[in-house]
């Protein structure tokens, strides 16, 4: 029952939009209607889908790097007070620095455009995985830690059999947030890189269509971008629920 309201609202909005465009007669290079956007997509589906793929490759590479880095550093700060003192402030500093501000530097320093885009997206996506996993690793109650100690468990056994499994739900929640952020980061980096970057992602398509006043195509790229964001969120959410349910938790 909760599926229908958003769909109905969306359809109504599209109808209103198309009706308003027809009634007012605004030219398509100012405000294209939904039909014009669909037509723009059908004019060049291979181009737009290719761009989507290019952006998604950057997004998922960044997400994978963020997962490795985030989980690794979270384990490090849980294991050692020294590592915590050394890592925590830098992670926060990176998190609060707007990526638009450092993207030009990264793109200038890192020669390879793909690596530069992934680096920018990782900076944006890394933090939720890192901080959520760190909270999850610290979540087991003192009694369970005592139980491990009483049975002679070392750090490694405690990590493997207690802290890491306890962190899974926290990690999954972080991963879902990071998934959306990785896409945002990839797009921002593509925008900053412009023609100097990969020249193939959806953001580049949006810039290019803007210059050429192909506004319907620009909107089509925008729609693909939000659809990708929604899909990433939904897939990561469903995968997380499935994993937790399989463990008998959700």
């Amino acid at each position: 029952m909760t599926r229908w309201p958003p769909i109905l609202a969306g359809v109504a909005a599209l109808l209103l939009w198309q009706g308003a465009v027809w009634a007012s007669g605004v030219p398509a290079y100012l405000v294209p209607g939904p039909l014009a956007i669909v037509r723009a997509f059908l004019d060049a589906p291979a181009l737009l889908l290719g761009s989507l793929l290019s952006t998604l490759v950057v997004t998922f590479t960044a997400l994978a790097v963020s997962t490795g880095l985030g989980v690794g550093l979270a384990v490090a700060i849980t294991a050692s007070r020294w590592a915590r003192a050394a890592i925590q402030p830098w992670a926060v500093a990176l998190q609060v620095t707007p990526v638009v501000a450092i993207a030009p530097l990264i793109i200038a320093w890192v020669g390879d455009p793909f690596t530069a885009l992934v680096a920018c997206a990782t900076i944006v996506a890394f933090f939720p995985i890192f901080s959520n996993t760190a909270i999850g690793l610290a979540s087991p109650p003192g009694e369970l830690l005592d139980l491990f100690r009483l049975n002679g468990a070392g750090r490694w056994a405690t990590l493997r059999l207690l802290r890491l499994p306890a962190a899974l739900p926290y990690f999954l929640a972080g991963l879902r947030i990071s998934g959306g952020l990785a896409l945002v980061g990839a797009v921002v980096a593509e925008f900053v890189a412009g023609a100097g970057g990969f020249a193939s992602g959806l953001a580049y398509r949006i810039l290019e269509s803007g210059y050429r006043l192909q506004i319907p195509r620009m909107f089509a790229a925008l729609v693909l971008l939000s659809a990708a964001g929604i899909a990433i969120n939904a897939v990561l959410g469903a995968a997380g629920t499935w994993l937790l349910r399989r463990r008998g938790e959700a």
């Binding site: 109650p141 009694e143 005592d146 139980l147 491990f148 009483l150 049975n151 002679g152 008998g248 938790e249």
Partner: protein, 246 residues
Amino acid sequence: MSLLRIARVGRRFATGTEALRDASLEIAAGDFVALLGPSGCGKSTLLRLIAGLDAPDSGFLAWGDGAPAPGEIGFVFQDATLLPWATAAENVFLPLRLRGMAWAAARAEVDAALARVGLAGFAGARPRELSGGMRMRVSIARALVGRPRLLLMDEPFAALDEFTRHALQDDMLALWRDARCTVVFVTHSIYEASFLARRIVVMTPRPGRIACEIASPLPPAPAARFSPEYAALVGRVSGVLRAEMA
């Protein structure tokens, strides 16, 4: 034979709270001791000292047979504290696994421990599929599976309803008789202490000391709950506690 002698032990936390002062107690092998006292008098602190999870600031603990090796102490907490992602059998297996035992070798012991607490059919159940009482049974099985020399229990039944509590208390007596291990059982229920323990150790309010000990004349059997001796013992322990609090 003395399993453990606790000699004039004191513990003051960094916060300045003095939880124990000059607490002395001797625990014989095979005994069932109840530690009874008002809230905050240092019962949990004393139990953690015995377990080696914390160290005293003064006094000492002397083990008759040498300090226990890892796994020789079983601990049951107020909450079941099971791993929520693991089945009942996996939870019971945990202490053996931490000591390096393989599942194939441990399986028979795990099944036996589950059967001993009446959960033979629930090996594959996750904690969320079990009732509070069943979860506590898993927790007890987990503490018993390594055949510990000493079983420490910190108000294990405090969070359970009356029916479940009585059933678990009856089972506890049977387990103690069969397993022949030593039990130190923390509670602030006079009834529970009187019914279960062979020796009731009453503690003073903080900083905790041992105020006095009462030996139980009851047989370790469920029927004891309905005997006039039980009522008399409860009355006696209450009197001692009242005098202690005054």
